[in-house]
Amino acid sequence: MNSPFIYSPLTTKKIRQYFLLSLLPLIFYNIYVKGNLGFYLLVFVLGLLTSLVFIYMYTYFTNYTWKDLKEYIDPLTTTLFFLILYPKSFPCFAICFMMGIYILFSLLAFKYRLVKWSSFYLALSLSFLLFYHLGFSLNRLFISNGTSIFSVLSFYVLPCLIGFIFLILTKSIKWKISVIPIFTLLFISVMMFFFHSGSIFGRFYKMISSPILFYLCFLNNHKDTPVSGVGCLIYGMVLGMLLFVFNAQNSILRLSYIFVFYPITTPLFDYIGSSERPAIQKAIVPILLFLIIVIALVR
């Protein structure tokens, strides 16, 4: 039996292309706002090359074939994302450093075959956390006005939204994971409108911001989201609520922790969503870990 002999037109290669295309509105917006095309393109190309070099190194150290690693679009996308938004304040060497940490942790998790799920997510999360702090300090160093990199992002909602919608329409990302958190935020905005004065859209606009939108795209492209429909639905709703809680605390730093740690919970949602329920064991450790983090953050 070797059927099928026909395949859906959507391939991972196409998804990768769509991701890069979805960044175009951001690029054009940036060129329009900053007006420094030459410098901008230079940084863009350098960033791309850096990512490729690190993906190659990753391949070399992990014995993964180049073919396997081509699928690891996330470092590439992340790098491009930061380059597009911060060509001046977030120079290439910082990204190289960040990629190095990312690679180191992933390498440890894969090479030594640590407990598959939790170790991979932990490694990933820790590397992102370090990346965040690194970015934060470098940002201070280079801009030296104390502005958080994340707060600057809120100016880019519209181009981010265009890229986001494009990815949903091309089915490159799971709409349940991407749209449901936004609807949850919208629902909360409406509820708040009834209890407090002010416009719904003003509140909603404050709640969704480009890091959230970009995170939702990026999260989908990661290998750590639930696979079942029900799992994605609940995952999206809980994510929306968490985003609200930490957004409402006006703490971009805490919000970033949610970005970093939420994917740890994936095994739980896989467990809830899968009709046959494969195993709860692998969900327990990451969930406990995540709960501790959330409690610590809220306190």
């Binding site: 059927s3 026909i6 859906s8 750590d224 639930p226 079942s228 429909g229 899968s274 329920r277």
Partner: protein
């Protein structure tokens, strides 16, 4: 989820070309068959060559038997026909060796032996590019109608439901004109989704009920429209089943052809002037079929032959997009089965429920051969049990 859209716009055509008999015909049979003819026997089209599972093996040509093992080979001469004699519908279905022509290929008399309230006529033909049932319906609508009216009047059926694809105006008009005067025959148009032609999904889509093993549990019999036409020929014309209409596709050329049981793939392709060198030949549909050689014998079980370019699919790692889980018609989780293939928890994911529809492999953007993986898991679980 009742299916996915595989073919963007199905282009139907209703002309049926008859493929002339080649010089030799090979009629395969299963090991447990009892063969009644000997080498050098002269047979007619319709002669009983042997018995398999209580049903006769019918000769599809007239000629001289030249070989018995491992298959019956007949040197073809001028057509002479042998008809069946019967005293009831069930008797006709048995003697004419009528099998379900939808792909299940189970003896049809077993279905009609049981009392059912609803007869569902399946015209869905969801395999992409296949239009043999469509051509059969358009060309033989009078005969199909006569058979359905006979079934309504002589069986305990309260109604007949004809399920047809909603993107075919021509078919809708033919059906509406033919059945407008009959209250008990209802037409239901359904979206052209794959695998909506599968009995279980069809019953779910029409009756909104699920059954375990057989549609009779919910009072339904599901018959393919080509089977209904074969039943008509058996009951009213006393002609056994030895030929059927299949679809042949080569790139943009599509044909509906009437073939006899036991023709070889190359006989059919050569007659249609299709060059098959350097091409992959697929028998039985692009979604559920298998790759064959030009010398493969085409039986009445098959509904199509495809000549396609040999394009290699590059496999990459899973991106956990969940498409395989969300589209599986039996609600399995192929990606989780893949992850748990060597684990003792595999049984909890029930790979044995897989109906081999290939949707998971079709939809996977990473081109992971999920169907094959699920089938391996199915084998493991069955062995374990």
């Amino acid at each position: 989820m009742i299916g996915i859209k595989v073919e963007k716009k199905k282009q139907y055509q209703d002309t049926i070309t008859t493929i002339p008999c080649p010089k030799k015909i090979t009629i395969p049979y299963s090991k447990d068959s009892i063969i009644k003819v000997k080498v050098k026997d002269t047979v007619k089209t319709g002669t009983v060559l042997g018995i398999c599972n209580e049903l006769p093996i019918i000769s599809s040509v007239s000629g001289v038997v030249t070989k018995i093992k491992p298959n019956i080979q007949i040197d073809v001469t001028i057509d002479k026909f042998e008809k069946i004699k019967h005293d009831s519908l069930i008797d006709a279905l048995k003697k004419a060796s009528i099998y379900g022509l939808s792909g299940s290929f189970k003896p049809t008399y077993l279905k009609y032996n049981q009392p059912a309230k609803t007869l569902i006529v399946n015209m869905m033909e969801c395999e992409p590019y296949v239009m043999a049932d469509y051509a059969t319906t358009i060309n033989y609508i009078k005969e199909i109608k006569e058979m359905l009216i006979y079934l309504l009047n002589n069986h305990p059926f309260e109604e007949v439901i004809i399920a047809y694809p909603n993107n075919q105006r021509n078919l809708r008009e033919t059906l509406t004109t033919s059945f407008e005067d009959n209250e008990n025959i209802r037409l239901v148009s359904l979206p052209t989704l794959y695998p909506l032609g599968w009995e279980k999904l069809l019953v779910r889509a029409i009756k909104h009920v699920d059954y375990q093993e057989n549609p009779i549990e919910v009072g339904c019999i599901v018959s393919n429209v080509s089977t209904i036409y074969a039943m008509y020929k058996a009951y009213f014309l006393n002609i056994p089943l030895y030929e059927r209409v299949i679809t042949v596709v080569n790139e943009d050329d599509k044909y509906n052809v009437l073939i006899r049981n036991g023709m070889k793939v190359k006989d059919i392709l050569s007659y249609l002037k299709i060059s098959y060198n350097d091409k992959k030949i697929v028998l039985g549909g692009l979604m559920m079929g298998r790759e064959v050689t030009p010398n493969t014998v085409v039986t009445l079980k098959e509904n199509s032959i495809f000549c396609i370019d040999d394009v290699k699919q590059e496999e990459s790692s899973c991106i956990r997009c969940g498409k395989c889980v969300n589209t599986c018609p039996v609600k399995l989780s192929p990606v989780l089965i893949k992850e748990q293939i060597n684990s003792s928890r595999l049984t909890r994911l029930h790979p044995e429920k897989c109906i081999e529809c290939s949707i998971c492999s079709y939809i996977c953007p990473s081109r992971i051969p999920l169907k094959q993986i699920v089938l391996t898991a199915k084998k493991k679980v069955n062995e374990h049990e």
